[in-house]
Amino acid sequence: MAGPLEQFEVKPIMTMVFEPLGLNMSFTNSALFMAVGVGIAAWLFKRGLEGASLVPTRLQSICEMLYEFVRGMVLDNVGKEGLRYLPAIMTLFLFILLGNLIGMIPGTFTYTSHIVVTLFMGVCVIIAVTVIGLARHGTHFLSLFAPSGVPMFIYPLLIPIEIVSYLIRPFSLAMRLAVNMTAGHIMLKTFGGFVIAMGIFGILPFLVAVGLIGLEIIIACLQAYVFAVLSCIYLNDAINLH
């Protein structure tokens, strides 16, 4: 029987090694499902908004609900100024959501379960937020690291802690998503293994697995939402500097 961790293995589908620089640029199963996720999102919005009408079709209303959901999230957490960055948040949300949901189909690969992928997205968010903050407020942005109303002699201790707590953000973003996806999939696989191994009593773990799949779908949506909401909150820190 396949081990519970085998599903996370990255396997090259098309091996491509760029010899002069020693780069391994193989097209892997991870890359394939990322392409599938992006393809689904592009198809959905292309088809859904093709003949956009006042009374929406089913696909159009899916697009509209997704858009309004993310727009409401940005308005709630950042305000009107944040709408300029709505496309980035929307892309991030859809990419993670589709990655999580595609992973729920048996036999597919969950690219959001890899910390490389999630950490890259987290680092992108934090770099973008820092650049936006510096561009909007100049060096005044650095006052984020020095809260006011604190006695002078605490600053040498407080400023490093504030800076580190800022730098931790991509780590905690990435870990939250990857850990949730990995843990859920391992759990599903383990219970799936029990179903076969326990013979006739396998009906019990089977029932648990059915419940777990429902829970996993909730978590898949929730984690995409959490990632996007936290990105909004970090963006808010940069835009509305207190």
């Binding site: 309004e68 959901f69 409401g72 308005l75 709630d76 490093p160 802690i161 504030e162 580190v164 707590s165 730098l167 931790i168 953000r169 780590f171 905690s172 870990m175 939250r176 850990v179 949730n180 929730l222 959490v226 909150i233």
Partner: protein
């Protein structure tokens, strides 16, 4: 979007609705449902805080270890960043709890609105 100019009139309405719901016989089911949701969101909050704390320590260890390897100062940065990471992780967890408290203290009407969106 026009919830802001609507809200003052609805504060009283919410209170009356709440009282009415409490006196209705069929309200227990609703209560159980909302307490189930509260439990789920508490579990989520706990996980969030846990990850926040672990991420701080992990960040300190990883960055400290590689910084030491690069600058050839073996335990200095590891220890320094581990302590800073722990403190920063706690700070992030504390901020998250503060935000949670703020969200919980806002009227339920707003939360319901957001969920519908």
């Amino acid at each position: 979007m026009n919830e802001d100019d609507r809200k003052p009139d609805f504060v009283d309405f919410d209170a009356r609705l709440e009282r009415l719901r409490a006196s209705q016989p069929g309200s227990r089911e609703k209560d159980a449902q909302s307490s189930g949701r509260a439990n789920a969101s508490s579990a989520h909050a706990g996980l969030h805080i846990g990850i926040e704390l672990v991420a701080g320590v992990l960040f300190g260890v990883v960055v400290g270890y590689f910084l030491d390897g690069w600058l050839d100062t073996r335990p200095v940065f590891l220890i320094l960043l581990l302590v800073l990471g722990m403190a920063a992780g706690s700070l992030n967890a504390y901020r998250y709890i503060q935000r949670l408290e703020r969200e919980r203290s806002t009227p339920e009407a707003k939360v319901a609105d957001r969920e519908e969106d």
